[in-house]
Symmetry: C2
Subunit: 258 residues, 2 copies
């Protein structure tokens, strides 16, 4: 959502699948496709019979800096020509009918593409024109179809969005980021001893203030306070802030009490 | 990529997260966001201080039929107002810095959102403006940040693309489609007996034609032919076609031999 990146960042990373747009209509979409490819680490673009010819300046305007992908794009007269040097071809297809062919999810396709490309084989992904999608002859050129799991009640998917999902899955298939991690930057998560020091400080001031004066309820109240602060990972910096807050609040009371 | 769907298909499916666009600039993007939401089964849209006011006719033009989502969108002066009735808020953020907060992948966030929404709690997803992204005050309203695994060399992500990835992950988190399955439609995968019948037919005709006349090599050649036809799932319809092809090819030879 932010930033524009130089062409150097768009150099191919290893052996990645070729994106093949079949009879694309709008240059806007071709540019947006190039941008989505860059986002997901796909770098080689081929165009089969683009409706308005090629190149189209408008594509570079919507590519948001993914110029290098557009500069290197090649144009082909037929799907057969565009896939001639490839060893595996997958075709995205929202609703295949009367076709006997393996159907992959986007995630399944990404996983297989990583395996195929990892063996040094060249793979391609076919995407159909904006309105009609791939026709039966196009799909006959593919080893397998790719169908995304999406709301069947609203499958109208923009071309660049279709490429985005596949590019995202391609990148994700090699990503090892844990699903949840605490971002701590310059500070670190506090140890239990540090947390205990703070809780001792807090409870002492609460006792002094009279907040915990109901002796029968006091143990439960203290336990609930402990639970609250134990719930998330508290950082050392946050503990320093909390110590300061408690001290200042208590000091105000002490001063008024004087 | 194909089809336009009626508004009825865009009725909310269960309890799904609210999409909150913070200070969006372009009506084109708001419309494209609505379309991506429909694709991924998200239905409630809120706009915080849209730059050019609201409504904007252009948004409906780029929504490709996701009108119902735009019709129901609400406008809010501040992020705090837009999230006031929600119980969990996640903020998408390509590169968080100096923030101590859990960071989720898109997939991790989708999994947690399914769990949260499944408990009947209301959740929201914050997306920042096109260029600047969310600011520090926006992010302070969130329980966790969401960062997508994408090419760090080219992170410039279109707003609608950012929503598409999250909507796709939301839908996928509840999807149980196997990563690969054979699409057979009206026909079914042939049994091994049917396949064996065809191979017997084929080998008999190959014997008759003289193709397998090299007796020392014959067993290996027959085995290779068997391997070829065993490699994929062959359907009953395809076996009928193969029987016909072999019969016709052999008949031509028989006729020429007469």
């Amino acid at each position: 959502m932010t930033g524009r990146d130089g062409g150097a960042a768009l150099a191919p990373i290893g052996n990645s699948p070729v994106v093949i747009l079949v009879r694309p209509q709008l240059a806007d979409n071709v540019g947006a496709v190039a941008r989505a490819m860059g986002n997901g680490g796909l770098f080689e673009l081929r165009l089969v019979a683009p409706r308005d010819g090629w190149p189209q300046a408008q594509a570079w305007r919507t590519a948001s800096g993914a110029d290098r992908i557009l500069d290197a794009a090649t144009v082909h007269a037929t799907v057969a020509d565009a896939v001639a040097d490839l060893q595996h071809v997958f075709a995205t297809c929202p609703r295949p009918r009367h076709i006997v062919k393996p159907v992959l999810t986007a995630r399944g396709a990404a996983s297989e593409l990583r395996e195929i490309c990892g063996r040094g084989l060249r793979a391609g992904l076919l995407f159909g024109p904006e309105r009609a999608g791939l026709d039966n002859d196009d799909m006959a050129c593919a080893d397998a179809l790719v169908r995304y799991p999406l709301n069947p009640g609203f499958m109208s998917l923009n071309l660049a969005q279709a490429v985005m999902v596949m590019a995202y899955e391609w990148w994700s298939a090699a990503d090892t980021t844990p699903p949840r991690e605490l971002m701590t930057n310059e500070t670190v998560v506090a140890t239990k001893r540090d947390l205990e020091n703070f809780l001792t400080h807090l409870v002492a001031e609460l006792d002094a203030s009279g907040f915990l004066r109901n002796q029968p309820k006091r143990p439960g109240m203290v336990r609930n306070i402990r639970h609250l602060f134990q719930r998330g990972e508290v950082t050392e910096q946050e503990l320093r802030t909390l110590h300061g807050m408690v001290s200042e609040l208590a000091q105000g009371r002490h001063q008024r009490g004087r």
